[in-house]
């Protein structure tokens, strides 16, 4: 069996891919954006409630591969309770780790996604939800990985 594949599709990722957390609409959302990955047709909608600069709640919906679904699911968990600045800093950290292969020790649970580094065409799957979150926070409404 291929080690890189096992590393990519770890238990946690498959679990979040099949049973995504916070996968629902968020009626009271203060910020919302839609993200698309034109390469594979994945689309994700991210909704968040921001109060006093803090992410109180984050949810997502959409359809995508295991990587993009798991990443979105893990993201909604990771940013809950964080300030908007902290959430965006975590995105920067995560992006630097998977795109630029930079060392990181602050990723927490997001570390399970680092296996994607070995699969350059799949990196966009892992970052789609984050780009969408950023678009939502910045009030842009739409995000694309391209």
């Amino acid at each position: 069996m291929n080690d890189a594949l096992r590393e990519l599709y770890q238990e946690v990722i498959l679990d979040h891919g099949k049973k995504p957390r916070n996968f629902r609409p968020l009626e009271q959302a203060t910020h919302c954006a839609e993200g698309h990955n034109p390469l594979c047709g994945d689309c994700v909608t991210v909704q968040v409630i921001v109060e006093d600069g803090v992410v109180r709640e984050a949810t997502f919906q959409g359809s995508g591969c295991a990587i993009s679904t798991a990443s979105a699911s893990l993201m909604t968990e990771a940013i809950q309770g964080k300030s908007v600045e902290e959430a965006m800093a975590l995105f920067d950290e995560f992006r630097a780790a998977v795109v630029e292969n930079r060392e990181s020790d602050d990723l927490g649970k997001l570390e399970v996604l680092l296996g994607v580094k070995e699969f350059p065409v799949r990196v966009k799957c892992a970052t789609l939800a984050w780009h969408t979150l950023q678009a939502a926070i910045q009030g842009e409404g739409v995000a694309s990985t391209e």
């Binding site: 291929n2 047709g41 359809s63 591969c65 699969f119």
Partner: protein
């Protein structure tokens, strides 16, 4: 349906595969299993050599030099046109217009014939399984002219609903656009019948032939189609070359598409007169090496025999469908009676993109996605599928490798 496990004797696969240099390589430490032929085929040595030969020996511009190299280039370029003409059984060389590919061929018809012939209230019928390349050019023209586009429905197996099509055919219909062989699900559409029905109400027919040429004999005269778009790289030729076949009287009445050199007869600042067919539609320096390489590819296919190739691929398709359908949770998408070498499927609970990644690590190249046919995906209620597509050099062992890799994907992702 019998599942034959023998390849027709007319194709010596081991020897044939030797002719395709790109097939001789490993990917992630495994022998390459190239099953993405509907996206593009590999090129045989003769095509590569013809292209290199042109650049090394005959390279010159066409149609405008008295010197020897230019004459050779012009001769080979025009011979390539004759080869394409003969391959699709058109009546005249002038009915073959070289383009960048299929997409440009369809755009040419939409932008010239479409813009001048369509009016508000006219209808364009397009099948639900069209590639975006035979949808979007018509949408642009419809917007400009006020014509309306109506989709022709297909059944659950991926076949055009001919009776629904028949009832949509009124004299408002001016154009019917149909893909000859579906790039997503492999359905071979009954183009002759569809065309005859369209002609009875006076509509013209635009066929997207991108996937058809490599798998079956195509005679544009027998089919009686008005326009037929072709792509070189889908039939073992280079990228960046293709052609539009059009009936001569239609092409002659069409205004120019793009303007420039070679498409004119005389130019003054007051008035320009245009050249005859086919040059009128081929402004600028064409893809000379591409056309020559494509002709070499078509000659190669001719020597192999398109019927033998077609039989070989049909055998593989039946075998692949049989083996894949034994996998639990696998759904074949597109099970038409008449199919070319394309098999599409989805696995319950697993996204095609993830399957594609596992397959790639096993050296198996397939396509995962919507295959530029989003309306078709919508029809089947799927965001994407996995597509394996075959060529003359595909072996049964490669199908076995595909099946084993899909099983592994299930194991890892299931």
């Amino acid at each position: 349906m019998s599942v034959a496990s023998t390849v027709p004797a007319s194709i010596d696969l081991a020897a044939l595969r030797e002719r395709f240099p790109a097939l001789r390589q490993q990917v992630h430490g495994r022998p390459l299993v190239y099953l993405d032929n509907a996206a593009t085929t590999q090129r045989p040595d003769v095509v590569i050599r013809a292209t290199v030969d042109f650049y090394e020996k005959d390279n010159a511009n066409v149609h405008r030099g008295v010197h020897t190299l230019s004459q050779r280039a012009t001769r080979d370029f025009e011979e390539a046109r004759q080869t394409v003409r003969a391959f699709v059984d058109a009546a005249h060389d002038a009915e073959i217009l070289f383009t960048k590919g299929c997409t440009e061929a369809i755009n040419l018809v939409a932008a010239t014939w479409g813009r001048t012939m369509l009016r508000e209230g006219d209808e364009i019928l397009l099948s639900t399984m069209e590639h975006h390349a035979n949808i979007v050019p018509w949408q642009l023209v419809a917007e400009m002219t006020g014509a309306t586009i109506r989709p022709i429905p297909i059944d659950d197996r991926g076949q055009i609903d001919l009776s629904a099509y028949g009832s949509m055919l009124t004299e408002r219909v001016k154009l019917v656009g149909i893909v000859h062989v579906s790039n997503s699900i492999g359905t071979i559409n009954p183009v002759a019948e569809i065309t005859a029905m369209a002609h009875r109400v006076g509509a013209r027919v635009m066929i997207d032939g991108a996937q058809a040429l490599a798998h079956q004999k195509v005679s544009v005269r027998d089919l009686d189609v008005d326009f037929y778009a072709m792509s070189g790289h889908k039939v073992y030729g280079p990228t960046g070359i293709g052609a539009l076949y059009g009936k001569r009287d239609l092409l002659e009445a069409m205004p120019p598409y793009q303007a420039g050199g070679d498409m004119i007869r005389t130019v003054t600042f007051e008035k320009t007169t245009f050249n005859d067919l086919p040059n009128r539609f081929e402004p600028g320096t064409p893809n000379i090496a591409g056309a020559i390489g494509w002709a070499a590819a078509l000659n190669f296919v001719d020597r192999m025999g398109i019927d033998a190739i077609g039989r070989h691929e049909q055998t593989l398709t039946r075998y692949a469908q049989h083996r894949l359908s034994e996998i639990d949770g696998l759904r074949l998408v597109g099970t038409a009676d008449d199919k070319a070498g394309i098999v599409a499927f989805s696995l319950e609970g697993i996204h095609p993109h993830d399957i594609g990644t596992v397959l790639d690590r096993n050296g198996v190249a397939i396509r995962a996605g919507h295959h530029c046919t989003m309306p078709l995906m919508q029809r089947f209620g799927l965001p994407a599928t996995v597509r394996a597509s075959f060529a003359m050099y595909t072996s049964e062992a490669e199908i076995d490798a595909l099946v084993a890799a899909v099983q592994q994907a299930k194991e890892i992702l299931g």
